[in-house]
Symmetry: C2
């Protein structure tokens, strides 16, 4: 999940308000204004192409998530996802990654353990990352607790350990992002994320819109880093009956550039209901609605009717690191 | 699960062979021959009473196990269970333990992580228990790997950490046992288990029958330690159609003394099928059969017709530590 950083954006989208955007240029103080080509052009498309990544978060967290997301991958319209390495079902999704080497799978770097009945700890040795742990030895429940307690050096050690374990399981990540947005919560953590991403020559989930909501992003970004244009994700204000309309409106109004739809797929089954108990938002029924919409014929039609093409983080990685 | 140590016993039971038993007296070299009263007498029953603990293992491992076992507890005939502290669903079963303080819940001390797609690590900091971990940083897949690699001091640190975490979650364990029997695999590990149990003034799962299958048990046991008379558990040789007959035969032939039926309850659902994939024994359908038998009217009738009374590990703990 990505939550806090996106709330303003989500709220704006939910309300139908046009979200502030830097369009095709970075702010002048970013030192990036010499990058003239738009992201669609860097990806080999005309500048006004509407490109979309349909990205499922939280793989590895639960069997229900793995099974439902794999079903959506096989349906063909959900074309990217990211994996939570500290979670117990990592081996299951790692098996999928090994048998589907072309799948666009990144790592959903995880510094939180947010559920009431179902918890996990870090990949690192606990005494080396004590600033990341609650009194029970699990990762913190919320992104704000995690970010306020995290020693950035320990956060860096932990996310490097997550990448190392993923590679040991045969996962070849195409991108990095941050579960619940913890690594976007402050400048030190975001610098850590970017440093680790650059060292691994991987693109990282950053939206140009976020430059408007922080006072540090533009000073950290450099000319080679790629920010996609915008992210659309379901917020907590949408009722079950409004699900399709939320996504349909977003697709009908999609602007040129690269948009990522960040979605959360699972079955509304016993495991997922228990894991997400007392969390209606991002809960089991909530995720089943994402499964249904993103495997539907109406989603396929909306893509066709609105001339939206799918791209992946692998494509973006090749643009960012063409020599790789 | 308890596996290896019990295989000979299980095989014998499966074949209808009478298992060697020390009856009411310990071997003469144990120094325990002065304990004259039988265990039923120490529990306040006539010496020839048939007493039974119906014990569900593996609580905390999966939601499916927690939910199905709680259902069996509420049915009233499964009257004891033990919890795997390192597993991700610990908080769920801990919530049940806090709201049911009279429940007979012990700790299923865990030094293995045996499934293919679903794994966990230790409670301790990894660099302090490296002898317990496989190359991925999880607990070993099998009890034999775990026992052969384990430094007993690290095993002791880990099981003490598991007890500490359980207490931090408000669990007040009534007994200790060992998942997959890892702590019964060699003398050093069994001494560790007994030392930790004595320090915590808790009874531990030991059967008098096991004295026949090891060359060290009798030299470690002391007069205050309690061994129950025997353990009955489903082995791998029984087909689905023979489930009820296996248990019915065991109940009809039950001898006086304290017997523990070690059972494994879960639903045959998606979570459990995926967790136990490629393990038909101790798998999802296997566990659903235990749920069905031990919540059945026929089990209730077998208890009545064979004059079998239920006792708990709490009762045994009070006999072993009356001053507690």
């Amino acid at each position: 999940m990505i939550r806090t950083v996106l709330l303003a954006v989500v709220a704006a989208i939910s309300l139908g308000i046009s979200v502030a955007s830097f369009g095709q240029a970075y702010p002048s103080n970013s030192g990036l204004q010499h990058v003239q080509r738009t992201l669609p052009e860097r990806l080999g498309y005309p500048a006004d192409t509407k490109l979309l990544i349909v990205h499922a978060d939280d793989l590895g967290m639960a069997h229900s998530i793995n099974a439902a997301t794999i079903k959506a991958f096989e349906r063909g319209l959900v074309n990217s996802g990211s994996i939570m390495v500290p979670c117990p079902w990592l081996p299951e999704i790692a098996g999928y990654a090994r048998s589907h080497p072309d799948a666009d799978l990144g790592l959903h770097l995880t510094l939180t353990s947010e559920w009431t009945f179902y918890r996990w700890g870090p990949v690192s040795s606990k005494d080396q990352v004590s600033s990341l742990l609650d009194h029970n030895g699990y990762l913190y429940l919320t992104e704000s607790e995690a970010a306020s307690h995290a020693n950035p050096k320990e956060a860096e050690a932990e996310i490097r350990a997550q990448i190392e374990r993923a590679r040991a399981f045969g996962i070849k990540p195409t991108h990095l992002d941050s579960h619940m947005g913890t690594l976007y919560q402050n400048k030190a953590l975001f610098e850590t994320l970017l440093r680790v991403a650059r060292d691994n020559r991987l693109p990282v989930r950053v939206s140009k819109e976020w430059f408007a909501s922080t006072n540090y992003l533009s000073s950290i970004f450099n000319p080679n880093d790629i920010a996609i244009d915008r992210i659309v994700t379901m917020g907590s204000g949408v009722q079950a009956g409004g699900w399709s309309k939320f996504y349909a409106d977003a697709l009908k109004g999609l602007q040129p550039g690269v948009t990522e739809m960040v979605i959360h797929i699972a079955y509304d089954d016993d495991e997922m209901r228990a894991a997400t108990i007392d969390h209606p938002d991002w809960g089991a029924a909530w995720r089943q609605r994402d499964l249904e919409f993103f495997t539907s014929d109406s989603f396929r039609r909306l893509l066709q009717e609105n001339h939206i093409k799918l791209v992946t983080w692998r494509d973006i990685g090749k643009a960012q690191y063409p020599e790789r």
